[in-house]
């Protein structure tokens, strides 16, 4: 039977628009040293390293072997994973399985990106099929705009509803010294920002960021060695369902009641494993990969926080603000910092800090259960549920 796994140390660089003062390995090393220091260990105590980013954002092939000077993997096992936007959570899940397998006791997970070093949209376009999608498709924003219009059509949600989310995320970021954007926005500011691809405006979108995050995962057998309280992984699940741009909008899924099956199915899987019946009440804080504002409405429904179409009312009720029923993204989330390969791992790191009570000005009181998600690919989802109490038995 597998081992139970906890996060025992986290490290992150300050998320910034550009970090020319360090090269890629040095940026990674900044987060790695912070995580090791936080866990009270050195590179030599680490049994294995997992790393992820998106290749074409920096143009470096075999990032695992290239990273060694920074990731601390010299003469250690290192493995690279990449799944697009979900990369950071994919890396966290890989670190989880490394430890849960019983083969490694202390595993370092690293997610990073230097988006300043390339043309992010130019690289993202190449994610899509060269015959059917690439000649037509215009990068991430257009794909998200298709989702937004479909959502507005189905529910009657408005651009102002989405702007509420954009404002919340940036307001929360003011409490996070590591966040990239520190701006006090109003709904009017978001509404008046230029359209990128209707109905998505500049103020609705995430930024491009340079940053790295490193997280130390430990087995139940060694967790006592670490000074920090463990933040346990309770369950993980993911779905990477689609291959083509148009797949997520097929009517059949909607007619069958599935709006965002990747997130709905993976959330349901972790809830079932842990026994969560009423997620909004039982989950104390959520760090969600919301790449743009409309996601902050629709994903509430996919995660079972409210009924279909209930996203705008839920968000406007203040339930997802600091002090609400389940604060969403106290860190400021992806709309305030988006170093893509680090982004998902930062969600896990933030959940760990919340559970450990170490989140500073962005701390939510008395967090027992926290939810982290990753979003990417072709409307893919990764979901991790974390908690303060060690699970009764190991479970994926």
């Amino acid at each position: 039977m597998g081992k139970r796994v906890a996060v025992v140390g986290v490290g992150m660089t300050k998320q910034r628009s550009s970090r020319p003062d360090v090269n890629g390995q040095e940026l990674i090393n900044e987060a790695v040293r912070a995580a090791l220091e936080d866990a009270g260990i050195s590179r030599r105590d680490i049994d294995a390293v997992v790393i992820g980013n998106m290749d074409h954002f920096e143009g470096i092939n075999y990032v695992d072997t290239w990273s060694v000077d920074g990731s601390g993997a010299l003469m250690k096992p290192i493995m690279k994973l990449t799944t697009g936007g979900t990369t950071g959570t994919t890396v966290a899940m890989a670190a989880y399985y490394h430890v849960a397998s019983g083969l490694f006791d202390r595993v370092l997970a690293v997610g990073w990106e230097k988006n300043s070093e390339s043309d992010t949209t130019g690289a993202i376009i190449t994610a899509f099929d060269p015959f059917w999608d690439r000649p037509i498709f215009a990068g991430a924003v257009a794909g998200l705009a298709l989702e937004a219009t479909q959502y507005m059509h189905l529910t009657g949600a408005t651009e102002e509803d989405a702007a509420y989310v954009a404002v919340r995320e940036r307001r929360h970021a003011l409490n996070n010294p590591f966040a990239h954007l520190h701006i006090n926005l109003t709904i009017e500011d978001v509404m008046n920002s230029p359209y990128l691809s209707w109905p998505v405006k500049m103020g609705d979108m995430c930024p491009r960021t340079d940053g790295a995050c490193a997280v130390v995962f430990a087995s139940e057998d060694v967790v006592e060695e670490f000074p920090n309280k463990p933040a346990w992984i309770l369950a993980v699940a993911d779905r990477h369902l689609w291959a083509y741009t148009s797949d997520p909008y097929v009517n059949q899924a909607i007619e069958n009641g599935w709006w965002f099956p990747a997130l709905e199915w993976s959330a349901r899987e972790v809830y079932d494993k842990v026994g969560i019946k009423d997620p909004l009440k039982e989950i104390d804080v959520a760090e969600l990969y919301l790449p743009y504002s409309f996601a902050g409405l629709r994903y509430m429904e996919s995660l079972g926080f409210c009924e279909r179409g209930g996203g705008p009312d839920l968000v406007r009720s203040g339930a997802t603000d600091m002090g609400g029923e389940c604060p969403v993204n106290p860190s400021g989330g992806v709309m305030s910092s988006n170093a893509i390969g680090a982004t998902g791992l930062l969600r896990v790191a933030e959940c760990a800090l919340q559970i450990q009570g170490r989140a500073g000005d962005r701390q939510v009181p008395d967090v027992k259960i926290a939810l982290a998600t990753g979003f990417g690919g072709c409307f893919w989802s990764d979901v991790l549920l974390m908690g303060r109490e060690m699970p009764e038995k190991p479970r994926g």
Binding site: G2, H56, K76, K80, A123, H240, A243, P394
Partner: protein, 381 residues
């Protein structure tokens, strides 16, 4: 480690160009073959690990193209970017965690659709090395020279590997490049980067492969010929070529020692019956044999010249024909595992080696064998 078995394997034919088949077609073919081999349906696959590389595919999120083809719909799935041996290792850990009873691992590569030299040039550091134009062949030539200088290994010693592996490929229907060669012919082939000649180098290939791993409990229901994972480990050396002694194989030695220790193997020379290793270049077979402990450092050439590594030798190496006879990158490591599985099951057809009870499969990531993964597989737990 709790017992985990390989219960199904599938390989497409490796060819210089499979123009009719896209990535998804190749993956679908390999996955169907593995399911058929295991006698399973896709519903019995609990989770999936895919293996691909965004550079080789010319596609960011390269795993997106094959999500339909690999059968991951409504399953947990992840993607390792690296050699297939590393992807399979992740698939193994997902079973050991207790979360899944079976994992499907698939890998794909189409060398025909891109430009290998430009892509392997991108392995090198963009600040200090890449603009020099160095890529896989020229960097490996530096390693070959360092290795040959240190131990007095000759180009003829290396040529023997080319003769042997291309010869073995005649008995492997999926191999791309069966060739009847003499040492003289290898020696007469033109230099690409000294001391590497055309016939010292692996070809460019298209292909895909899949393996299915299962817990002991599930394996018992699936097959009466399980092949057991007895040990597996990997290790990565320094990055900058100048930080390493390129003639040294310490990362491989470290990985091999750990894998042997898990498998309870104290003397690989006596206890291992067959080796499938990552011979992207002829000299690598010699170096990796030494690193894996099948002879002393510098003796790889002598071992090969003695005939011990031939199909009918004491320790047959690359009976499949190796990477020299077909090299879909990433897939290549999975193919090493698959050949070991076929040999252990007695399903290797014309190239079957008698009495194989334990076999070693080996894969590589990064320039000049920077990161090695070693598998010990056996017919018994």
């Amino acid at each position: 480690m709790e017992p985990v078995a390989v219960v199904g394997v599938g390989m497409t034919a490796m060819r210089r160009e499979r123009r009719k088949d896209g990535y998804a077609d190749l993956v679908y073919e390999a996955v169907c073959l593995a399911l058929e081999d295991a006698g399973m349906t896709i519903d019995q696959v609990d989770n999936v690990v895919t293996v691909s590389n965004d550079f080789f595919d010319g596609r960011t999120i390269s795993s997106m193209a094959i999500q339909d083809a690999c059968g991951s719909y409504d399953k947990n799935v992840s993607t390792v970017e690296g050699d297939g041996t590393f992807g399979a290792f992740y698939g193994l850990m997902r079973i050991l965690s207790g979360s899944f009873g079976t994992t499907l691992v698939c890998a794909h590569h189409k060398g025909s659709e891109s430009e290998m030299a430009l892509i392997t040039n991108a392995m090198f550091d963009p600040i200090y090395e890449r603009f020099l134009g160095v890529e896989a062949i020229t960097s490996s030539a530096l390693q070959a020279r360092a290795y040959m200088d240190k131990y007095g290994v000759t180009e003829e010693d290396c040529a023997l590997v080319s003769v042997k592996n291309h010869g073995n490929a005649f008995r492997n229907p999926v191999a791309q490049l069966p060739l009847e060669l003499t040492v003289e012919e290898v020696m007469a082939s033109p230099y690409v980067a000294e001391p590497l000649k055309v016939l010292d180098c692996c070809p460019i290939s298209d292909g895909a492969s899949a393996v299915i791993l299962a817990s002991a409990e599930r394996a018992a229901k699936i097959t009466d010929k399980p092949v057991w994972v007895r040990g597996v480990a990997h290790c990565c050396d320094a990055y900058h070529l100048g930080d390493r002694d390129l003639s040294d194989v310490r990362a491989l030695q470290y990985a091999a020692r750990k894998a042997y220790s898990m498998a309870g193997i104290s003397d690989p020379r006596q206890e291992i019956d067959l080796v499938e290793l990552y011979d992207a270049f002829t000299y690598m077979e010699l170096m990796w044999l030494e690193g894996l402990g099948f002879c002393d450092p510098g003796d790889g050439g002598k071992l090969t010249a003695s005939g011990a590594t031939a199909l009918d030798g004491k320790i047959p190496v690359n009976p499949s024909g190796g990477c020299l006879s077909g090299h879909p990158v990433l897939v290549a490591g999975l193919n090493r595992i698959i050949e070991c599985v076929l040999q252990l099951r007695g399903d290797a057809g014309e190239r079957q080696v008698d009495g194989v009870r334990a076999a070693v499969a080996h894969g590589v990531n990064g320039p000049c064998g920077q990161s090695h993964c070693v598998w010990v597989l056996g017919g018994e737990r």
